[in-house]
């Protein structure tokens, strides 16, 4: 009974994102029917010549596919890191950006836009400064050789606000015709520029971080009991906390550096997961990835369909997610809080 229920859940949370990915190939400014899309996929994967018009091949395989894969990875990574941080910091109001990774990455991207105006440099700087921000937060939170949770959060808040101030400074200094719009647009988040190359580069930290979090997921339950109790239950809190922070940071920095700042997913998707499957991180962590991936693909689809011009993702996530969250809250009565 228990096994079958588990197997069902497992299938559901793997199949649904895949199905959404497939359907997302069909929608956009140029509608593609499912047979054409499947045919293109089949030819490309088996490396056979394709009878479909080049135009459709380009739309399906070169434009939509990388964007969808990247959307799934980014949404999944933001959600899974958010869930891990909520557990680690014993605080349901924490998101994936709590240790300053988003502000750090934002500053890195803005700096690169002003200095180089090159996509590759923007990725690199965003990633590097995102990681740097977390390292700084960790060092600030490190007192007496241990890292009390509250000190880490405080470190994160301080580092975030410093980097936010620096972003404002760069906006102020930027050329208002080219650089400023680029910075502002980057900060609103978008998957529009997604290419396979981005997936290959940013996918590595995202995958390492995600797999790491999935591997240690049960221990996040124990870390959420607080340092002293986790210690008395037999866990080395310093090592395990460091590991979770490192994995979540890799995943988030990898996501943010290609997508820009997409809020909301890392805070609220884990809560949707909590309502659906409960709080046990053994299940919640993988489910958060699945939900985050599905959610971001759908929102990105809407961004592509709703208007002729694309609506930035960071705006839509909250506009779409908010009402959905309220609906779930009413439906599940909040899940035992």
């Amino acid at each position: 009974m228990r096994i079958t229920k588990k197997a069902w859940l497992f299938l559901l949370f793997i199949l649904v994102p895949l199905l959404i990915m497939l359907l997302s190939l069909l929608v956009g400014r140029y509608p593609v029917d499912i047979n054409t899309a499947l045919h293109v996929l089949w030819c490309r994967i088996t490396m056979q010549p394709c009878q479909v018009a080049d135009f459709y091949q380009t739309v399906v395989w070169d434009i939509r596919m990388p964007r969808i894969i990247l959307g799934a990875l980014v949404g999944g990574c933001l959600a899974i890191s958010g869930a891990a941080f909520q557990g680690l910091f014993r605080n349901p109001l924490v998101s994936s950006g709590i240790l300053g990774v988003s502000s750090g990455a934002g500053f890195g991207a803005a700096l690169a836009i002003i200095l180089f105006n090159q996509v590759a440099a923007t990725y690199t700087f965003a990633f590097a400064f995102g990681v740097l921000a977390v390292v700084l937060s960790y060092l600030i939170g490190k007192v007496y050789n241990t890292t009390p949770t509250i000190m880490l959060v405080l470190g994160g808040v301080i580092v975030s606000s410093v980097f936010s101030a620096l972003i404002s400074l760069l906006k102020y200094l930027a050329d208002p015709l080219n650089e400023l719009p680029a910075i502002v647009f980057w900060l609103m988040g978008s998957l529009a520029s997604a290419r396979y190359r981005d997936i290959l580069i940013a996918g590595i930290p995202m995958l390492i971080g995600t797999l790491g979090l999935i591997a240690v997921r049960w221990r996040i339950n124990i870390l959420s009991m607080g340092d002293r109790e986790a210690h008395s239950l037999g866990i080395n809190t310093t090592i395990n906390k460091g590991l979770v922070i490192a994995c979540a940071t890799l995943a988030t920095a990898g996501a943010v550096c290609v997508s820009g700042i997409i809020g909301w997913v890392g805070l609220v998707i884990p809560h949707i997961g909590r309502m659906l499957v409960g709080n046990d991180n053994k299940i919640l962590i993988p489910v958060s990835f699945s939900l985050g991936a599905s959610f971001l693909i759908i929102v990105d689809d809407l961004g592509r369909i709703l208007t002729g011009a694309e609506i930035p993702l960071g705006i839509l996530t909250a506009l779409v997610g908010g009402p959905f969250f309220v609906y779930l809250l009413k439906k599940t009565k909040g899940g035992g809080w």
């Binding site: 014993r90 605080n91 221990r219 339950n221 008395s232 709080n279 046990d280």
Partner: protein, 275 residues
């Protein structure tokens, strides 16, 4: 007999203040040791040192003759389990998930609890009589039920010693008795040892009255003031000295329970000055 836990002359200080001054304590198998002392006397610090959470600046602690300072959290956890005083509930985990966490020290870093761990957790819940609540979010439990779940989590750790920090704090009369009766039953059934910090001297007499091997240590001004059997140590003089209060120790004879001893507080003797 080899001691389970031996604390030898440990001192602990925070910058500028001495919290523990050459404290020694030992616990033998099957024994309850109650730690009694006024607020701020260092009880919790002493427990933290024993848990390996704080490192004493002097002296040594031995768990089953092993030097505690050389043991990892995992090794310590297999030997002693901890029932906290204030467990801060953050996420509404299910009761069974909470109890399963007691298995952490038996699982590798990447492992998750398996069927065997689930069976052990369920047995632990059964031992404290909480099986019927195993699928409830533990945030919805009453104070007493929550404390029993914490005891079950400690039992799932399968350790020979359980350290409890004021396990009956904030509980009503009945729930307090439920916790005490559970502890007595566990000791009688499993030969477990318990180290318990408490504010209620009658707890020590309760255990002694129930025929459990009980010792009490009185902690005052960073030192152990007296230690021994409750009837020898919990005297009117010692309690007066420990808390600056006047008490009476009364003996009464109940038909069903035989002779029992209880402390009755009478009044303060230093005009309510806090020291």
């Amino acid at each position: 007999m080899k001691s389970l836990l031996e604390v030898q002359d440990i001192s602990f200080r925070y910058p500028g203040s001495l919290i523990l001054d050459k404290v020694s304590l030992c616990i033998n198998p099957g024994e309850v040791v109650c730690l009694l002392g006024p607020n701020g006397c260092g009880k919790t610090t002493l427990l933290d040192c024993i848990l390996g959470w704080l490192k004493p600046c002097e002296g040594q602690i031995f768990l089953n003759s092993n030097d505690l300072s050389a043991m990892s959290a995992r090794q310590i956890a297999r030997f002693l389990a901890y029932v906290p005083q204030n467990h801060e509930k953050t996420f509404p985990y299910l009761v069974r998930d909470i109890v399963l966490m007691g298995r952490a020290s038996f699982l590798g870093p990447l492992d998750r609890p398996g069927a065997e761990d689930v069976a052990i957790a369920e047995k632990a819940l059964e031992m404290v009589g909480m099986s019927h609540l195993k699928n409830r979010p533990y945030t919805q439990l009453s104070g007493g039920e929550g404390q029993l779940v914490m005891v079950a989590r400690a039992l799932a750790q399968n350790s020979p010693l359980i350290v409890m920090d004021e396990p009956t704090a904030h509980l009503d009369f009945k729930h307090e008795l439920i916790i005490l009766e559970t502890i007595v039953e566990l000791i009688k059934k499993t030969g477990l040892s318990v180290l318990m910090a408490t504010h209620i001297p009658n707890h020590c007499y309760y255990f002694e009255n129930k025929g459990i091997l009980t010792r009490v240590a009185l902690l005052k001004n960073q030192r152990i003031m007296a230690a021994g059997r409750p009837s020898e140590v919990l005297t009117e003089e010692n309690l007066g000295q420990l808390y600056n209060i006047k008490t009476r120790v009364i003996n009464c004879c109940l038909e069903e329970d035989g002779q029992i001893k209880q402390v009755v507080p009478i009044c303060t003797i230093d005009g309510r000055a806090l020291n």
